[in-house]
């Protein structure tokens, strides 16, 4: 039986598969980013910044009733779309679900084909931060 994360990934893969034109995938990313609630200026603190992103990315994790809720933002529209996708995949899950998930599975999204190598490093850092948040919450 596939996990909730796998189900969410499959949904995104399906959505992305509708687009033949690569530019349409970017339009989808931009739209996804615009739908993400922005962080307030007060929330854009150094401690939430992700290292390794060429653009600025902030990621906040809140533990609500045993589930991790992620909120995030970026100063660039396309990266904000990526942040939104990642949040869609990992938010509102138990720490154990995230800890148990093999992040290599994200490869099926094919994001490496649509984002630059520099941004791939940023994406990797973002996912590592999510894993760290989950591991800390799991061991608490």
């Amino acid at each position: 039986m596939s996990s909730e994360i796998e189900t969410r990934i499959e949904e995104i893969v399906e959505e992305l598969s509708f687009f033949d034109d690569e530019l349409e995938k970017y339009e989808y990313l931009v739209d996804t980013g615009k739908a993400l609630s922005p962080l307030s200026e007060d929330e854009k603190q150094e401690q939430y910044l992700i290292q390794g992103c060429t653009s600025q990315v902030w990621l906040i994790c809140e533990n609500t009733d045993g589930k991790l809720i992620f909120r995030g933002d970026s100063n660039t529209v396309i990266v904000k779309g990526l942040v939104a996708l990642i949040i869609k995949i990992f938010s509102d899950l138990t720490p154990k679900e995230i800890v148990d998930f093999d992040t290599d599975r994200l490869g099926v999204l094919g994001l490496s084909e649509i984002i630059t190598p520099n941004r791939q490093n940023g994406l990797k850092s973002m996912i590592e931060r999510i894993k760290t948040y989950a591991q800390e919450a799991y061991h608490d």
Binding site: E22, L23, Y26, E27, V30, D31, K34, T54, S55, N75, T76, V77, I78, V79, I114, I115, T116, R119
Partner: protein, 395 residues
């Protein structure tokens, strides 16, 4: 009309607008490199068999070609390096380090003319001074002279053309004023040779750094001009093979310039290719290059100016080669990524010039930079695709 000289553009629809990062290489340069590797590959200045002699001759001919090209007076004033960055590091550590209290740079320097000074423990107002520029990025000559007056034991290191903005610094005047105060000047010519003639005697410059790969030549090679009167004061940057006249276990005696500055096996094919690139530029002639590129630049400037909410950071008079811009409501990174997906290659970001970006309150810019191979069609494609990118980003 110049694309025909470059194999890169055969069967390749890429719109290449990143020549300030590196230029494409004409076929004659590729052939010269290949000829060395396939016909007479041998080390230089060591062996004495036929091909080794030919390699040495071609290598030294390249030195003479560069000497004539920039109107240096002597072959020994030309030293091959890995590129402009190495040339700047070279002079920083071998000439400036223990000799000068202050280094004066411009506001438009890229990291290669900032970081080496920091590595010497110089920071702003502690051995490093920065000449102001106004919002038009023009060099503040009055401030420069004031800095020279306040810092009698100074060295000046200034870029000829800013890589981030294409802004030309008035280097002849800068050198003239610095010399009034007895101060030597190094010019970073990374962005100049490809666009206009450099005459080191006319400039009366003390040190001039040159790039091959930004001037239609191979990567990993560059050169430095050192005025003859300074050669005795420049220490060897690295030592070892090919730099010595005699070695025992007790001491080493170095050769004279240029050999004492070129330790180890050089990028022989690169140097030979660099010379061929200079011959290619000679064949095109600078007058024609300047006229042709100015036409493209002007057209690009006008076309970009017509886009809504665009901010251009340079004008079309005091700049050459590169044009930097931002569009309100769109990050340069996103613009660049989308243009890339539409097969238009531009640079976006801080262009290795973070201090000036910070000074201007910018995270970065989109930069379009030209080579002789660009044409009006390239600019039309840039504009068309830029509009599409902005449509996607702004919704």
């Amino acid at each position: 009309m110049y694309k025909k000289y470059f194999e890169y553009f055969h069967d390749n629809k890429n719109i290449y607008l990143d020549s300030a990062s590196t230029t494409q290489k004409p076929k004659v340069v590729l052939e010269a490199v290949q000829e060395y590797y396939t016909k007479y590959c041998a080390n230089t200045h060591r062996s004495n068999f036929g091909n080794a002699n030919r390699a040495t001759t071609e290598f030294e001919n390249a030195r003479s070609t560069l000497k004539s090209f920039i109107n240096a007076a002597h072959d020994e004033e030309i030293i091959f390096t890995k590129g402009v960055t190495e040339s700047l590091n070279f002079i920083a550590s071998s000439f400036v380090k223990d000799r000068f209290d202050t280094v004066i740079i411009s506001s438009l320097e890229h990291h290669s003319n900032i970081v080496p000074w920091h590595m010497q423990g110089r920071s702003l107002h502690q051995g490093l001074e920065v000449v102001n520029c106004d919002e038009n990025l023009s060099f503040d000559m009055e401030h420069f002279e004031q800095l020279l007056q306040e810092n009698p034991n100074a060295f000046v290191s200034i870029t000829h053309v800013s890589n981030a903005f294409g802004r030309i610094n008035p280097v002849k005047n800068i050198i003239h004023i610095a010399h009034k105060y007895g101060v030597p000047v190094m010019i970073d010519g990374a962005q100049s040779l490809v666009h206009f003639n450099v005459d080191v005697q006319d400039l009366d410059v003390d040190f001039y750094a040159l790039s091959s790969h930004k001037s239609y030549g191979p990567t990993g090679v560059g050169a430095m001009y050192i005025k003859k009167e300074h050669l005795k004061d420049v220490k060897a940057y690295q030592t070892g093979g090919a730099t010595i006249s005699d070695v025992s276990y007790d001491r080493s005696i170095l050769l004279d310039s240029p050999f004492k500055f070129e330790a180890g096996t050089q990028n022989i094919a690169g140097v030979i290719g660099f010379a061929q690139a200079l011959k290619f530029i000679q064949m095109l002639e600078y007058d024609r290059i300047i006229d042709y590129e100015a036409g493209i630049y002007e057209y690009m400037y006008e076309q970009l100016s017509e886009i809504e909410d665009i901010q251009l950071y340079t004008d079309s008079i005091n700049c050459i080669g590169s044009l930097s811009f931002n569009v309100k409501g769109a990050m340069a990174d996103d613009v660049g990524v989308l243009l890339d997906k539409m097969n238009v290659s531009i640079r976006y970001g801080h262009h290795c010039a973070q201090p000036i970006m910070k000074k201007l309150g910018l995270q970065g810019t989109a930069r379009v930079s030209l080579g002789i191979y660009n044409d009006l069609h390239d600019i039309d494609m840039l504009i068309k695709n830029l509009k599409r990118a902005l449509q996607i980003l702004k919704g």
